[in-house]
Symmetry: C2
Subunit: 341 residues, 2 copies
């Protein structure tokens, strides 16, 4: 069993498992080369041999304890038959969804459209040593809804919020459809070789309390149940980014996830006191600290290890690694987490 899986099973290990959100990404020169060869981000995602290759790049360079499949949260709108366009220098674009009727609701079509992701997963699993864990992932329904309603990344999640506030039933139906596709894709990733899966709810933090309960916690709870019904004992990490501490508490207690990924602002001492060994914690170094490096980074890593030494823990950032991160700072982080032994 890998160290990440052990932590998800609530083992407390001396030097915690380490991986980084977006570790297969633009800070790596070999990634930038692969991306240039592929011609587009989306082609890199959807071509199994290329996706597998960039997934393995950071493993070769740094020996992280877990690989995370290179993919994108927009594979779910793609599964629904939406076109995804990537303009150079801009984020992804898709036609805004106005009603569930605009979506291809056939689960067999979802499954066949996402075959390249499973193919990539199988390739990566075949390359990794047995003690190296492999993560699959999916966007959570609320965050996917913000992209799908807006047609792009949004700063204030306006289109999805307006839909939800004005037409609560229609929006609930939209989230439920997304839920089904997400659960199916998570199960498929586990079947294709993922040790565990992570749900990214990047925009969970902008919701008032009630909406958070309805649009973040409830769908996540149903997804966890559906995945466990299909794959008993499946390990699931949830990331309700920038939720309030009350939001994190309820999310951890009510969704059934095995681990909660914490953003940079969450005080680790609070989380350790709150959750003890009930939920594995993951996080939460500031990605900008990893750009800064030096004494500030060293001190923060030492504090992270100190504060989490008594609980099941996965070392990570509080958000994705940034393209400008110096390679040697990542090496320093890896060395310091692994320790002198």
């Amino acid at each position: 069993m890998g160290k990440l899986l052990a932590a998800l099973e609530k083992s407390v290990v001396k030097s915690p498992p380490l991986w980084l959100m977006r570790q297969a990404g633009r800070y790596l020169p070999e990634y930038r080369q692969a991306r240039a060869r592929a011609g587009s981000f989306w082609k890199l995602c959807m071509t199994p041999e290329l996706a597998a290759e960039v997934t393995l790049q950071p493993m070769r360079r740094y020996g992280f304890d877990a690989a995370i499949l290179f993919s994108d949260i927009l594979v779910v709108p793609y599964a629904f038959g939406r076109e995804i366009a990537f303009e150079e220098g801009e984020g992804p674009r898709l036609d805004p969804v106005r009603s569930v009727q605009e979506l291809d609701l056939n689960p067999l079509h979802w499954h066949s459209r996402l075959e390249p992701v499973r193919d990539a997963m199988r390739r990566v699993r075949a390359e990794l040593s047995p003690e190296t864990d492999l993560l699959g992932f999916c966007g959570a329904p609320w965050t996917l809804a913000t992209y799908m309603a807006e047609g792009r990344g949004s700063t204030d999640q306006r289109a999805a919020k307006l839909w939800g506030y004005r037409d609560p039933e229609g929006f609930a139906q939209f989230l439920e459809v997304i839920e089904r596709c997400v659960a199916q894709h998570l199960v498929a990733q586990l079947e294709a070789g993922a040790t565990a899966v992570q749900l990214f709810d990047s925009w969970a933090g902008s919701l008032p309390e009630k909406a958070f309960a309805q649009w973040v916690i409830a769908p996540t709870r149903r997804i966890v149940d559906a995945v466990r019904a299909a794959r008993p004992g499946a390990k699931i990490i949830g990331f309700p980014r920038v939720a309030t501490l009350e939001g994190y508490r309820k999310y951890a207690e009510e969704t059934g996830v095995d681990a909660v990924s914490l953003d940079t602002a969450v005080p680790l001492r609070w989380a350790v006191t709150q959750f003890g060994s009930n939920v594995t914690l993951q996080g939460n170094l500031d990605p900008i600290l990893l750009i800064a490096g030096g004494r500030a980074l060293e001190r923060a890593v030492d504090e992270l290890l100190e504060e989490t030494q008594s609980v099941p823990f996965i070392a990570n950032l509080g958000h994705g690694i940034l393209p400008e991160t110096p390679l040697e700072h990542v090496a320093l982080l890896v060395d310091r987490i692994k320790g002198p032994h």
Copy 2:
């Protein structure tokens, strides 16, 4: 005494005082006309008769319980002698600050550069009835530092964080200089007729716990002390937007502010339980709910009033009102807060 001041003195009133962040703004057709006549946003800010006029516009239309002077948080970098440029369709730009030596550190110069703000304040005070409160404001040092270090609004506050992580002493000195200018400008606004002042720390939420203590709480504490030394009993509202709940708790307990403005995600029940009548609460309707209108808005307003009925409270949004907000939704909000009496 106005209702806002009464709430800041910890009175519990039956229908709470109401004002809206950015209430003098683009959702008002009369504002858009004034802005077009002025030719630029900055000219509107720095021309006392125009700034006074747009400050009064929402008061005439809606009769809010408090006016807030139309100004901008970038008047502080301007006081330091930095040029502020507003490109059409983009946010404000200024030359990034790399060291305190680049700033004009003469408080007499700060004072004279900000005379137009005080002039506008005096004009507004002269127009308002005595029972109508008038707010001044300033950006808080951390948030101002993010703009000044980046040279523009930033999504991840990178330049300021990098400065702070790499050069903690230099950055502390930078914050201290900003602190002095902020305190002076708050005092000046109170002398010019403001009933109370609000400190906007819009980017407080992105900081890890220790940085929050050093860069948000400590400077705010020193500003509150300095303002009260000059103006005993001065009333100060603080807004550490998107802080964690632990952050809000410490901010309220340690800075000495009279009131804490809450962002949209903060559960009011948590705040009421946490603070009781020790700190006045302000907030926190979702600005997007005010665009949505309808039953969702009505229900949220009723819950807001219900949850805060036993504590000193100022009704407001959790963030600034958005340009797309329908005028009739604001009227509905005002009516519902004021109640049938």
